[in-house]
């Protein structure tokens, strides 16, 4: 059992180091901008349409946020302390609202969209991929793999645009039918609540962004699963069980089970990709999650918000990765019983 603890401990250490390095990047980058960073930021902001009062207010806050009047090591220590205590500063734009509360308002929408899309894509994609490799040479294989190849290459954002156009705009223009709403997470006249009306509105708004995240990811899983499952199918234990007359149904279960295991680890890596897709998807759907928060902040260069979103999203990805590793330990007896390191 101690090998298992070691495995988890190692993963935990990697996680902490990674987060620390991510934090350091977020700390170093604004400070390596040539010249006085605040001044150069202000200059670039001044070219925009901000009023002079707002500019000086920005300037004051920027100095405050980056603590540029203090020595570098103090800045770094304070930065670390603040980020671990959840003090991510205040937004330059949203009337000084703390970044943490801004994030708290946006994060749930992102997670509620992201997690089901990732999990559904994983299960369906892997099943189809394994099925396709099992039915080698069949029409089913050709169709599944062909579709998977194309769908996996469709960019999230373009799919999002096209889905809105085809399933929300076109039906209205052609037949006057409001099939799906073209954007937003729920009907803006409603307040988020647990009423039936709100939930229905939420679900109707959910379908298109969900599909736009699901499909490309699904295609990716089909393709990668097919390679893994084909390799498993050629392995000695399948031949042996086959030659003992073990039913095809059971053999397929063997292949599925063993090919799923490496895909669990891949799930952790995929997370980052889907999240990137999500950031853009939210912008196109005007879906009020972290992506929208980030793109809006990028537009007005609201640095504390950009930094805060960066840190929280990375922490989320790292945490999810850790959970995935943990699940892997639980489901693979070889690791659970300490016979393989990873």
């Amino acid at each position: 059992m101690s090998r298992v603890y070691k495995f988890i401990f190692t993963k935990l250490v990697i996680l902490i180091i990674t987060y620390f390095i991510a934090l350091s990047i977020a700390f170093v980058l604004p400070r390596i901008v040539p010249g006085n960073p605040v001044q150069s930021l202000i200059v670039s902001l001044a070219s925009g349409s901000l009023s002079p009062e707002l500019l000086s207010d920005y300037q004051r806050r920027l100095v405050e946020v980056f603590e540029l009047n203090k020595p570098l090591h103090i800045q770094f220590i304070n930065f670390l302390r603040k980020s671990f205590t959840g003090d991510l500063g205040v937004s330059l734009q949203s009337y000084g609202e703390p970044v943490v509360s801004l994030i708290a308002r946006h994060l749930p929408w992102t997670i509620l969209l992201l997690v089901p899309a990732i999990v559904t894509a994983w299960f369906i994609g892997n099943y189809l991929g394994a099925r396709a490799s099992y039915k080698r040479g069949s029409i089913f294989e050709k169709v599944t793999i062909g579709a998977g190849m194309v769908v996996s290459q469709i960019p999230y954002y373009w799919l999002a645009m096209t889905l809105i156009f085809a399933l929300a705009v076109l039906p209205r223009e052609l037949w006057g039918v409001d099939l799906f709403p073209p954007g937003s997470a729920y009907d803006p006249v409603l307040q988020p609540s647990l009423t039936l009306e709100f939930i229905i509105s939420y679900l109707r708004h959910y379908v298109l962004p969900f599909l736009s995240l699901l499909l490309p990811s699904l295609g990716g899983w089909i393709i990668s699963m097919r390679v893994i499952a084909t390799m498993e199918l050629g392995s000695p234990y399948i031949f042996y069980s086959d030659t003992l007359g073990v039913k095809d149904k059971i053999l397929f279960r063997y292949v599925l089970r063993n090919s799923m295991l490496p895909q669990v680890t891949a799930l952790g890596i995929q997370l980052g990709f889907v999240l990137s897709g999500q950031i853009i998807t939210e912008q196109i759907f005007n879906y009020q999650g972290m992506g929208i928060l980030l793109t809006r902040a990028l537009g007005v260069r609201d640095y504390p918000v950009i930094q805060g979103v960066f840190m929280i999203l990375i922490a989320t990805v790292l945490l999810a990765n850790f959970i995935v590793d943990f699940v892997y330990v639980l489901i693979d007896p070889r690791i659970r019983l300490g016979h393989r390191r990873d």
Binding site: Y240, L244, G245, K247, D248, I250
Partner: protein, 333 residues
């Protein structure tokens, strides 16, 4: 008398070289019979097609390997004869594999489904043939078989990776014989094991036959010193063909085919250290099986090659009461 009969059996690997297809004639016109109650050794150097022949005997043939022709007949305990080379996959799976013929593959460890416990693996085998069997019944059957083979019963609750190499090999033997098949095809069962474990595995195989769990066995190996411990008869394979079949002692002390002779000489005369690589000491290389020589396939390495050897393939003929050789030296006239 006969248990399994192979008549002119051919099976080729279809390869793509660049964009051209080519056939590797791994098993090319094999004639062989396995008798009731015997242990037949099948020897040859690696790449001669003996492992392919193992798959072909069971008719478990998957691309890129293709069955090209010939007849394989199985004679069951109940007295039926079954032409298994004519059966389709479903029928083989339902009626033949596991019930009448079973295999012990080269590497036992990788032959066991890695993420299931031994009892689950056995359960999946048994319920494929008998849907009504329960896991508990499986466990008691398996425990009984393990005991017969001298294995501890805790094995049933282990995962494959928790077993040692020798233990895994013997567990595979137990699982393969759960349905008491008439024929067991054993493919290089000892190549990955140390000498003392080898002995144990061979003893286990021996006791299978002695206890009547199985009836006949084909023991495939590249190592004559192993096979002479267990086999009643030995068949020597070279480049996709059987070149000599005879009782074990005759093969060891009086080999007739020049290849068999080379094989025996290289093992008997050299020190144990060199023995393992001994087969290399026949000068030259086995022929390319995509374009094998027109005549005898051993001709380029044979010290006694004659004109006819290059032109015509020697037939496998009976030269005395229980010995078959495929060599022009033994064809009279």
């Amino acid at each position: 008398m006969k248990r399994l009969e192979l008549r002119n059996v051919r099976a080729y690997y279809r390869l793509l070289i660049g964009n051209r297809e080519a056939d590797v004639r791994a098993v090319d016109g094999v004639n062989l019979e396995i008798r009731k109650g015997e242990i037949l050794g099948l020897v040859g150097e690696s790449g001669c097609g003996k492992s392919t022949l193992a798959k072909v005997m069971l008719m478990n043939i998957n691309p890129p390997l293709f069955f090209k022709g010939g007849t394989i007949i199985l004679y069951t305990r109940s007295g039926n004869s079954l032409e298994i080379s004519k059966l389709n996959r479903e029928k083989l799976k339902k009626d033949v594999w596991g019930k009448h013929v079973a295999i012990i593959p080269q590497e036992a460890m990788s032959a066991l489904m890695p993420t299931l416990k031994i009892k689950r693996i056995a359960y999946d085998v048994l319920r494929s043939h008998n849907p009504d069997i329960s896991l508990d019944e499986t466990v008691s059957l398996l425990t009984k078989r393990l005991k017969e083979l001298g294995l501890p019963d805790y094995v049933v609750d282990r995962y494959p990776f928790e077993l040692s190499g020798g233990m895994a090999q013997r567990t595979v033997i137990a699982i393969s014989t759960l349905l008491n098949p008439e024929i067991l095809v054993v493919d290089e069962p000892t190549s990955a094991l140390d000498v003392s474990t080898q002995k144990l595995v061979i003893k286990t195989l021996w006791s299978l036959a002695a206890k009547g769990i199985i009836d006949s066995m084909v023991f495939i190996t590249h190592d004559i010193s192993v096979v002479r411990q267990i086999a009643d008869r030995i068949a020597v394979m070279y480049a996709g063909k059987i070149v000599e079949v005879a009782p074990t002692e005759d093969i060891i002390f009086d080999p007739q085919h020049p290849y068999t002779r080379g094989l025996i000489d290289s093992i008997i005369s050299l020190e144990p250290e060199v023995r393992k690589r001994g087969l290399r000491y026949i000068p030259g290389q086995p022929p390319n099986l995509i374009n094998p020589p027109q005549g005898c396939r051993f001709v380029d390495r044979c010290p006694f090659a004659k004109d006819i050897c290059r032109k015509k393939e020697p037939p496998l003929i009976k030269i005395n009461n229980d010995r078959l050789v495929a060599c022009w030296l033994h064809v009279k006239g």
